[in-house]
Amino acid sequence: MQGLLKAATRLRTEFAQVPLEVENLVDAGGEGEVYRVSMQGNQYALKWYYPETAHRERLSALKYLIQRGAPSERFVWPLDLVVSSESFGYVMPWRDKRFVSIADLLKRRVSSSFQTLTTAGYELAHNFYQLHAAGLCYRDVSLGNLSFDPSTGEISISDNDNVGVNNESIAFVGGTPGFMAPEVVRGDAQPSTDTDLFSLAVLLFYLLAQDHPLNGEHEARIHAFDLPAMKRLYGYEPVFIFDPNNNTNRPVVGIHDNAIAFWPVYPQSLRDLFTRSFTDGLFNPRRRVIENEWRDELLHDRDTIFNCPQCQATSFYDIEKMRTSTPHTCWHCHQVLGVPPRLRVGKRVVVLTPRTHLYLHHLDPSRAYDFGRPVVAIVQHPRQTAVLGLKNLSQDTWVITKADGSTQEVPPDRSATITDGLRVHFGKVSGEIRA
């Protein structure tokens, strides 16, 4: 159906004065409509506000965001304003079709590996860090505003027109029910970076456990549409479904099956962060998990994925299980799993499988979160496939120290056989293998 703007309507951007042509309406929401437009031969999206939502404060906020620029390329950020006599809107990049919403994941329209999900989780935390470090807050986290590439985990953050300066600018939205921090639900606080942290934790829980962290028995008892009951659930009496000290709101079989299935699969360290987020962090914003903690945990989790030799399902190496001598078992076929070789570099542990790659992030303390080019690959012996080696993809020569104390150089493009007790000096850091 035609929207407020007719196809072939010609408009011009305010700042760059570039002409654009409306192609078609692609979506409509509560604030306005989104069109596909062509501008200088390229496709962009144009969000066009309904006249009643196109007010001066909104225009002023958009100008600020456009002039300020995106905190990272993952934000589908306003690029330029478009103004007419009836309303206004903004041009933003056209999002690639490979991105799907987290809602599609929950509806099982797409499937993703743990590798992808932990990557998407890391990217979410990393980009929220970029946003918050710039003094901005998102204020509008919802399943529909975050998309990811189900094959790589790359994320895309849309609907950025509600981003504002933390604790300063007007919030045009209160947030989405279920994602709002309890103090916002109660009306005690405005959306801020503190409340963003709560929303981020909910989103990560949705991404990884594919259920809501507060939806358990309490939610199941709410039948009719009952806003006061929902405010109790998310604002006044929230209880984490896996709260170790409060079992009144456990997930219900038949309703919250995803949470029941996924929760035990994840390492204890990740579950601990969720537990803190949704116990202490419910009422004390200072106890909420910050972006850095999520980043480090999710990267650690991604580094510890390995496959069941029997059914190929992926599991996480859990150091807590090693500490307590609890065997790893496959969540899918329930076979007891032997743990693959691991490389410990500083505080990091990386499980070594034929698909493992290490990056400067792992081997250069000054290049944290640099995943640009792999510097270590795991290779299989050409004849004895059970024998794995560390292949040097970097420009540096490594020095390895074997268990018997002998040393050897590993120049670029050469490999070192993975054995228990092998120490590798990568140049800036050293690591040790347990096999």
Partner: protein
Amino acid sequence: MKSGMAIQNKSHWVVWGTAVRGLVHAQRGLPCQDAILWVEADGESRRVILAIADGHGSERSPFSERGAQIAVAVATRTLAQFHREAVVSDPRNLVQVKRTAESHLPAVLVAEWRKGVQNDFARVHPESQLREGYDLWRQYGTTLLAVLATDRFILSLQIGDGDIVLAAEDEQTDRAVPRDSRLMGVETTSISSDRAIADFRIGFNVVIGLRPVLVMASTDGYFNSFVEEAGFLQAAQDYLRRLREHGAAYLQSHLAVWLEETSRRGSGDDITVGLIWRANTVDYASETSETEATAHAGTLEGSDSPADRVRSSTT
């Protein structure tokens, strides 16, 4: 034939619809397993609510006719509560209304429907040990399509096949809820499934000017009677034209006959069509009488009279 009385919502939306038994169902001696229910404005409110459902009718779902009736009752009641609690208090905040609907309504509809099914089964089969769970729910399996129309927006919810179409003043039509690519075969998503909450699809369309002026909700027996999608979408415009040319009473008196003929020539399935249209764009007032009723459910009457002349322009 299932039908109800038209309700005139004084200044804006009028709602009407009917459900007819398909030829195949009649030949097999099966009842119409569709259900339709609507609710008019309650005093000061100017919203209307429409719900239709298509019971699966398979061997696995022997009580799907009841499942469909429970579904439309739950949907109209829930949307009325939603309007009262989430819309009336802050009608201008459409973003919040949309998000509250998306966040909560599927879970509430599924939970309420299950409760209704449990009560129904316990009443009819007090001796049975079966009290809840998928073994029970799938016996009542049904689709559900529900629409809440207000001055500001059209909220549409759907699980399973069927269609909700919006028609604008300028004769453009569009789907209120995008088609689900998984529903192209015989199988449909269902309110009885374990994934029902996730499988709900929601459309939210802000009312701007004369867009839309008519909403058409129909069970899949209607869509399946058309050769092409374009012809199906055109049907919504045809209803609009008829309302303008002949008035609401004409549509109300002929709709069931048209649908029976459509089923006979087309899918052979039960067909239910519910229509909501803008009172101020269609000159019907002289032909419809106001009613004090607040809700109408269809009752089985039975009719086989064809309406050849009309069907050719609605298909």
